[in-house]
């Protein structure tokens, strides 16, 4: 008998069907990966098991856990199961802990509740559990509050809570999305250990195919509230019986045309998968004619000297588009007493680099290493504490807002959050036209309209979209609008700060293609900020690796990512989930 058997589970909220006849099962000691794009119903499935659904939700079908039907159990019975036999780790480590209770209290609480242990006893067990997840009580006493821990540490506490009583089933709903790749790798490792240790069943939910592939024995693919396919991980992914599974896999590995060759792991991809990728590309590639992109690439290569030479080494003949020298940014420290402050925090520390016109550069690094700060400095949205920034040879540091206008025209930005970067109260026309105020002379109404229409056309949107509000678009469309806004002044450099990390894999693929195409047609240079090495690899020529405010490594993308030299870069590369590599490993394991 399975540990958990979900049969024919349907769920609706306010008459809207959310889940349609979901079937899933998990054996003891098994890891089941549940993948699917955002909103496909993964979390709802998990919450249905916990019986923690929103009030309005109505579930039908059966969820058998260890023989009992959870959907028929009363609340008291569920309370007995939750936390004891079924543990759950939630998506957001930052908010999953009660800020006003110590971590000791929070871990011990469940133990006291279920095991009836005394306070001292429960705390002892809590301490052991925290030790187990890598928070030894010598370094992290039980009396710490959540705000005194980093995101990764908090997630460990959440896992400790969920696993405190050695549950038979652990549900982990996107347990690593809020963490950077290095932390993610650590957490996944921890989960793996816990499963191995006590033959716990694990339902691992993620939209990241690579993560799930790496971790799970079996995989279930979900879309629109339905399970499309279940099976052994390796088989499912290599066979790609269901077209959607294939689409998902393709999108996850998507590289704009011509870029695939740069991967050194190329040969290791199973032939079927590689073929699928190529096919998928042809199928989905309507937006990006590959030949054009290829020709631009060739042109760019020629312009920057012989392949293999770094442009900033060999490109003396070209004036750099952007050159940054000894840039530094200090943030004043928090006040710790009335008369003293903490030492200023140096977010960007002695950074120098140059960007050549028309080339794309990735800026990668762990969370909090100073990437966004550097971007804001380059955009002159913040004043540096030291160093200079030159745009086409002209210094922009210390200029007034009026003097900055030409620079602003030349450098534009695309933000991470395709929704947050638009004022929801303005129409698309006004939003996209916003930077037009930078042009001298400023265009009149008719001219603006024309320019907006053109920009929309360039990103593949229709002119009628001008009269709509941002909320009337999908995430991918919004990101296109955001790009349209960035290119409307014909900038020479576009800074993209995590511009695709919030997007679903399939939409991400489209946007990456768009970036490539714009590069080709308009000759725009990019500074691509990302923590996702797959993205960096997909569309950039060179890469800057940043660590604790400093640039620790730079070079051609493929070279750096395949043969990282610095410690920081090595850690990044090692931790980065890679679908191809994961499939290959699983193939070996599962035969």
């Amino acid at each position: 008998m399975s540990l958990l058997a979900i049969e024919n589970l349907s769920l609706s909220i306010d008459e809207t069907p959310i889940l349609k006849a979901v079937d899933l099962s998990i054996e003891p000691g098994e890891v089941l990966g549940l993948v699917g794009e955002s909103g496909s119903g993964k979390s709802m499935t998990a919450l249905a098991v916990m019986r923690l659904l929103p009030d309005a939700a109505k579930a039908r079908g059966s969820i058998r856990f260890d023989g009992t039907d959870l959907l028929k159990a009363d609340e008291a019975a569920m309370c007995r199961l939750r936390g004891d036999d079924i543990g759950m780790v939630f998506q957001e480590p930052m908010t999953a802990l009660n800020p006003v209770k110590t971590i000791g209290e929070q871990v011990a609480e469940g133990i006291r509740w279920h095991a009836g242990a005394s306070r001292a006893e429960a705390e002892q067990r809590a301490a052991r559990m925290l030790d187990r997840v890598g928070l030894p009580s010598q370094k992290f006493p039980l009396s710490r509050y959540p705000h005194q821990l980093s995101g990764g540490q908090r997630q460990r506490v959440v896992i400790a809570i969920a696993c405190a009583l050695k549950p038979k089933l652990l549900i982990a709903d996107e347990p690593t999305t809020a963490l950077d790749v290095v932390l993610q790798a650590q957490i996944l490792e921890l989960l793996r250990e816990l499963v191995a240790e006590s033959r716990m069943g694990l339902l691992l939910i993620s939209h990241d195919l690579a993560v799930v592939t790496e971790m799970s024995d079996r995989i279930a693919v979900m879309r629109g509230g339905e399970i499309l396919e279940t099976g052994e991980t390796a088989k499912t992914l290599s066979a790609q019986v269901h077209p959607y599974t294939r689409q998902l896999a393709l999108a996850s590995m998507h590289v704009p045309a011509g870029r695939r060759i740069s991967s050194s792991l190329e040969g290791k991809v199973p032939p079927k998968a590689a073929e699928g990728i190529a096919e998928g590309w042809r199928g989905a590639g309507k937006t990006t004619p590959e030949s054009g992109f290829e020709s631009w690439r060739t042109a760019a290569r020629t312009a920057s000297g012989p392949s293999g030479h770094l442009p900033f080494e060999g490109g003396e003949d070209v004036t750099p588009l952007l050159s940054v020298e000894n840039l530094r940014k200090d943030y004043p420290g928090a006040r710790i007493s009335l008369f003293s402050k903490q030492k200023p925090f140096c977010a960007v520390d002695d950074v120098s680099f140059t960007l050549a016109p028309g080339r794309s550069t990735a800026l990668v690094g762990r969370s909090g290493c100073g990437k966004s700060t550097l971007a804001r400095l380059v955009l002159a949205l913040e004043r540096p504490s030291g160093g200079t920034i030159r745009l086409e040879g002209e210094e922009i540091t210390g200029k007034s807002e009026a003097e900055l206008l030409p620079a602003r025209r030349a450098v534009q930005i695309v933000f991470q959050d395709p929704y947050g970067s638009f004022d929801p109260r303005h129409r698309v026309e006004r939003l996209v036209a916003e930077p037009l105020g930078l042009l001298r002379p400023a265009p009149d109404r008719a001219a603006r309209r024309e320019l907006v229409a053109e920009a929309l056309h360039q990103v593949g949107m229709k002119p009628d979209d001008m009269q709509k509000y941002p909320h009337e678009f999908s995430g991918g469309q919004r990101q296109r609008l955001s790009i349209a806004r960035a290119i409307i002044t014909r900038p020479k450099l576009v800074v993209a700060d995590e511009a695709v990390s919030a997007l679903d894999v399939s939409i991400r693929a489209q946007i990456l293609d768009l970036f490539s195409e714009l590069n080709r047609t308009l000759g725009v240079a990019y500074l691509f900020i990302t923590h996702d090495l797959t993205v960096a690899r997909a569309i950039t020529d060179e890469v800057l690796v940043m660590h604790e405010g400093r640039i620790v490594e730079r070079g051609q993308t493929a070279a750096v990512l395949d043969h990282p030299r610095s410690e920081a870069a090595r850690a990044l590369v090692a931790a980065a989930p890679d679908l191809r590599r994961a499939i290959a490993t699983k193939m070996r394991e599962q035969g």
Binding site: R376, L379, L381, E401, L404, L405, R408, V411, Q412, I413, F415, Q416, D417, G420, S421, F422, D423, P424, R425, H426, E434, P435, L436, G437, L438, Y469, H471, R485
Partner: protein, 291 residues
């Protein structure tokens, strides 16, 4: 470190807002009540059942009847007419006071949020000082200095509204400023003033609207309180608070005289509060029932 609704931005446009508002029972009830009171005030300019400037002492303190629905007061004036005319006073005082509070407080709050630094500190400290005076006490003091009367009541209540709006506007604006679309606007070369006008204000407008209805309701209560202690509207101008004051000594003889003005105040405030609730419900279902 004060608690205020975090700024919120509706996820969609005006029509959806209206649709949600119309689905909110609070909003509909509040809107109807408020509209009726406003209508009553408007009608009173052209028509009242009786002339409130005319004292007919012979008809004093009549019980409600067909001729005088709500009875008459101690001067023989028709209570219904008094309430109708009094609503003008209540609405005018509260409205202008809220206007003063908004007109000064919102720019102050926006400025503080946009400029930060010492200016922000200054505005916050100014708020602290004003808040340190119990509201009614400062109103009593102001009317004591400048004499009782509707205008001074307006000023007194208005002054207290300034920091309220400054605070709400500042908190709202502070939540808007770090958002990416502001950064985008800055990248588009827009200055702080333009950004405040084009992006910040429209986005906190709804927040201010909700606070506005709350302050409006509070203003009506405050005006009634001031008039009740004789510092608000002066006779012969009818005012609900004064009517209550006049009626309280006659509670036993003519209880309806105290009943109707009290009910008028209560219903108006209730209506405004419901309206405010409804608006915030419609703005963001998560922001329900803040007050």
């Amino acid at each position: 470190m004060t608690y205020l609704p975090s700024a919120f931005i509706p996820r969609d446009g005006l029509s959806a807002f209206l649709a949600r508002a119309l689905a909110s029972r609070s909003f509909i009830a509040g809107f109807i009540v408020t509209a009726l009171i406003a209508l009553m005030a408007l009608v009173s300019f052209f028509w009242t059942p009786d002339d409130v400037t005319k004292l007919v002492v012979g008809d004093r303190m009549l019980a409600p009847s067909a001729a005088h629905w709500f009875g008459t007061d101690h001067f023989g004036r028709d209570v219904l007419s008094m309430i109708m005319v009094g609503s003008r006073n209540s609405i005018a005082v509260a409205l202008v006071a809220v206007g003063i509070g908004m007109g000064l407080g919102v720019p102050l709050g926006c400025l503080a949020a946009a400029r930060g630094g010492w200016l922000d500190d200054f505005v916050m400290r100014f708020n602290d000082v004003v808040f340190a005076f119990p509201a009614l006490l400062s109103a009593v003091m102001i009317t004591a200095v400048f004499g009782p009367g509707a205008v001074n009541a307006i000023i007194a209540i208005g002054i207290f509204n300034i920091p309220v709006f400054a605070r709400v506007a500042r908190a709202g604006a502070l939540a808007i400023w770090p958002r990416e679309f502001i950064l985008a606007a800055r990248a588009a070369g827009k200055g702080k003033t333009r950004i405040t006008l084009e992006h910040v204000l429209p986005n906190i407008a709804t927040l201010l609207l909700v606070q506005g209805t709350i302050q409006f309701a509070l203003g009506i209560l405050a005006e009634a309180g001031l008039s009740y202690v004789g510092l608000g509207a002066q006779p012969p101008m009818p005012s609900w608070g004064r009517m209550l004051f006049d009626a309280q000594t006659r509670m036993m003889v003519a209880p309806t005289q105290a009943l109707f003005p009290g009910l008028a105040i209560m219903i108006t405030v209730l209506g405004l509060n419901l309206l405010g609730d409804g608006v915030s419900d419609a703005l963001d279902p998560k922001l329900r029932r803040r007050r």
